[in-house]
Symmetry: C2
């Protein structure tokens, strides 16, 4: 570039060199060595381990018979025995062609799974990258991943090196297509990097491709790698967490921490923050533990304790009133993305509405008068549901009644829960200020403020802001935890390939003590679930358990957090320095670890 | 806390200890030593320097006569000569009572200004913190800041230790109140930490309190410290930047970088991201240089080059079309908060509308028919403005016509520019796809795609998301740059107090070469500006100059960035490790530095 005014040419040159993923940060993280479990390290290099039966098994499936019948090839071999790495001998396999794909939304660390795979497969096997997820698998678009490419992608965020996609492989036509692609491209093994649905898909593929794909009767091995920022693919002590969760929650926790720090500085806002994470509230719970905001909702608790929408609004208003009584006119409310569907009465209402819509589609599409439509619908639903719907702010009532997707179903995820709660809390607080008497006092259900505090609350203002953090957390550069975890997951998946296994998902445990590589049999994870009106064999989403240590710890703290500022700022995630090695708090709590720092043995320079 | 299920009690205890600003991160950053300019260091401790006239002066004000008349006490003493630190002798002042306040929105590093002040004032002077900004000054609410308190606040984000406020001290009654407070509480010096308006206020206070506050005829010294995340308080080579800008832009740049990294992974979204920063586009420009998105608007350029709203939409659609032609159906558009007001035709329209509203308030408030109201207003504005307004999507037309604040003025900042541009771009792209012929080709103004690319564009989808990043960036823990910069600004302000100066703003230059502490005379920064229909003496906001090296560099790169993915992810800001010492790119470019790393001499352990 020619001279730019009085800018220093040396700086111009340095800045120009940062384009296309070459920021100073990106250049540095590519150089970062990562810890590798000692079973996979020999002479400073990465080597595969064998996997053999451990003493651990998955809890027996309640649908064992159905699963056994559904997976006649796979089940007798994998069942529910967990495998563990051993180093008594190492696989000497060569000549395998292994294809890997990303499935679903991106999660930080995906590229490092590729790095781990490539390193362990070595030069004597070939690693192919399938472009654009399951869709690319059906089309057979793949390319060889070279050692050189790893230098670019190691430790970087995103799934862009391969791309991803949400295609579900379901029909027998699609399965045949995969078989043909594997046959034609001489694929020996498939590695599916994805969430619960994608790993269910991996199980079905493992069964379908078990044998007779190639002319000599061989099948194609299929292995899964647990990915999802939502954290809802986890198996108690056998799979502490899916990858991507740590980076996403650290990203959101920084933002939430910053906003919390803003509240007592500007002293005038309640911030309502919705966090991505689909149905499960793992993300909300982790961010709450990191930052300690005034109010955090955990959908699973709301469902379990059958909270009404009104009770949820009440929880917010109690915190607002108690704080205002002390002169604290600010706070933060954390809302998990899937909240609405976990409120039993809302779930009931939505089900009834979907039913009405489905049965009266024609009539409703021919009625153009909104009032008439409303009357019709109100006449068709239960009294409780009608009451609930009438209690909603107009905008949301209309949304429930009118905004449908092409199948006539309500798009629940489109409902801005954070705005709904703001509106309802505003109305309730106004009532509480207009006539405080019934709300305050020492009686059951009343809020325990003294008259002076009530007066302070009545005079206080309730100003709000709302936020939704989602995309920001999926593609950032992986935290050190995710970066290291993913390399080891990749090595584990690669070792399983070289050990000749099929139908397993890679897992790492003992994250605080050097790491232990496991393989979980996919058939052992599968249950029968009712979906879209029929039984399907799926890996169930792991929701937050309200008897888990992480939830119980949160529960023990939250009353204090709701009454006054107890917040902390976890800061931006650090790749270097004294706090770079932390794992998620929920993971450390639920696994019974003594500290937050992860330890996966020896640092290895990867590229 | 009693035992929590199977959680490790040691971990429970560690997590409990993180409440109230004690995350592992916060505990560590408090220990972080910071570099201090060598003029302020002696025997490993911090000492004040004298300030005396340098060879530098501020450019002569165009309103010199008015300023001289408006500041009869201050101007003859401070004029426009810049002071510089010297160490030939050091101030031995003791017994001073110095009060400091934060004014306006929070910015990262404010607490470190207090640390710098306290360290340099030492035990022989007293530092008082004024609670809740200018309001607290009027009320006289202040407390002594102890050495012990510094241990808690050093290197932390937020203004919460003192609180802040936006009260403007304007009336003679208010000035008298300040005088009385200073007299009664025996204040010798006031330090005002704030933006352009607050430093204007500091100048007026310095003049008003110049003498005769105390019974012996002494006045009160007033010093300013340049704060604002917007970056619009800067003075060419004499004040490279205000504090807080670096942390805010690093925070936003991480989020934008993450979203950019998401785009080629999920391959389906254009993200429109509005960034806080008020009128000036410094924040947008810095974030653009850090991340290299497809489209970034700089308000100052739009005003300078008289772009129409339609042209702005055209810039977006060109990038969308060119990328879609290559199969890239994603991108990021950065929009500065103040954009709307910088589009000349929009500014004209808004002015006309405000005029009509002001003159026909009664008539409009009595008309309840929206159509009638619209007709009335359309009849009163110019043909150009009417045409522009009619071209807006309905929702925005209504917003312009109907949503007014209590003074009848349009609340421009409430207009969701990012959504307006999405709607208009969607409409335009639809036109371009319906009848591509006039839009593509080699003629002047046409987009240079070949027929195959045009066909690919016509088939492409345009899905969008929108974001607004604001509060997240104001209160995070300061970057190393802001942390160090603020300590040195605080030491500079404290040294000025001990040197007996009044009416100056602290500044640091030579940020890449050990740092140089300066004092800029506030009178030299003041100009006469027309505000609310009358002349006011104010420090003008420093807007982005389109002949500045930073803008010119951006301009030289942006066509490339708009055509294909050139983005980089700067990552989360690092407090440790190889990229922790970077300053803003715009600062390094505009100051002619050779690199991005700042250097403020020797690291000193502060608390």
């Amino acid at each position: 570039m020619s001279k730019i005014g009085s800018a220093n040419p040396q700086l111009i040159q340095a800045l120009e060199s940062t384009e296309k993923g070459n920021s100073m940060f990106e250049k540095q993280i590519r150089q970062m060595p990562l810890p590798v479990i000692k079973d996979f390290v020999e002479g400073g290099g990465i080597v595969p381990a064998h996997f053999s039966t451990s003493t651990e098994t998955l809890p027996p499936s309640k649908d064992g018979a159905a699963v056994s019948a559904g997976f006649p090839n796979l089940y007798p071999v994998t069942g529910n025995s967990v495998l563990q790495s051993t180093t008594t001998e190492r696989p000497k396999t060569s000549g395998k062609r292994v294809a890997v794909l990303f499935s679903g939304g991106p999660a930080a660390g995906g590229h490092n799974v590729l790095v781990g795979l490539k390193k362990v497969l070595g030069t004597q096997n070939i690693l192919l990258g399938i472009k654009n997820g399951p869709k690319g698998l059906l089309e057979g678009t793949m390319f060889e991943i070279t050692e050189k490419a790893l230098e670019t992608i190691v430790n970087t965020g995103g799934f862009d090196f391969l791309g991803s996609d949400r295609t579900k492989i379901k029909t027998s036509e699609q399965f045949n297509q995969v078989k043909t692609v594997c046959h034609d491209q001489k694929i020996d093994a498939l590695v599916v990097v994805g969430g619960d649905d994608s790993n269910t898909n991996a199980a079905v593929l493992a069964e379908y491709l078990f044998k007779n794909v190639h002319s000599d009767g061989r099948g194609v091995q299929v292995l899964g790698v647990p990915k999802t920022i939502d954290g809802d693919l986890q198996v108690e002590s056998l799979l502490p967490i899916s990858f991507g969760f740590d980076t996403a929650t650290k990203t959101y926790a920084e933002m939430v921490g910053n906003i919390l720090q803003d509240t007592p500085s500007s002293r005038k806002y309640w911030h309502f923050i919705k966090l991505m994470g689909r149905s499960a509230s793992h993300v909300a719970l982790e961010v709450a533990l990191q930052t300690k905001p005034a109010v955090t909702f955990v959908s699973e608790e709301i469902e379990n304790r059958k909270y009404s929408l009104s009770h949820i609004v009440d929880i917010i208003c109690r915190s607002v009133a108690r704080r205002a009584g002390k002169g604290i006119n600010h706070g933060v409310v954390i809302i998990p993305e899937g909240l609405i569907e976990f409120i039993p009465e809302m779930k009931q209402l939505i089900t009834e509405l979907n039913e009405v819509m489905a049965h009266s589609e024609k009539m409703l599409s021919e009625t153009h008068d909104v009032g008439e439509k409303k009357n019709f619908i109100y006449g068709k639903i239960s009294a409780e549901s009608a009451k609930l719907m009438a209690s909603l702010p107009d905008e949301f009532e209309n949304m429930l009644l009118l905004d449908r997707d092409s199948h006539g179903n309500l798009q629940v995820s489109q409902i801005p829960t954070e705005k709904l709660l703001i509106e309802m809390a505003t109305t309730r607080l106004h009532e509480m200020k207009t006539d405080p008497k019934p709300f305050f006092g020492q009686a059951e259900g009343q809020i325990d403020l003294n008259p002076e505090e009530v007066a302070r609350f009545v005079k206080s203002k309730f100003s709000t802001n709302n936020h939704f953090f989602g995309y920001e957390g999926r593609c950032g550069a992986p935290s050190r935890f995710d970066a290291a975890y993913c390399v080891n997951l990749g090595i584990t998946a690669g070792s399983l390939v070289l050990s000749g296994k099929t139908g397993y998902m890679a897992a790492i445990t003992s994250l605080d003590k050097g790491g232990k590589a496991l393989a979980l049999p996919l058939t052992g994870l599968i249950n029968v679930e009712r979906r879209h009106g029929k039984d399907e064999m799926v890996i169930e989403k792991a929701l937050v358990k309200i008897d888990s240590p992480a939830f119980m710890f949160f529960q023990a703290c939250r009353d204090r957090w709701s009454r006054e500022d107890c917040f902390a700022s976890p800061g931006p995630r650090q790749l270097w320095g004294p706090v770079a090695s932390q794992m998620p708090m929920t993971v450390a709590l639920n696994q019974g670890y003594a500290g937050l720092n992860f330890d996966l043995a020896a640092d290895v320079k990867l590229v």
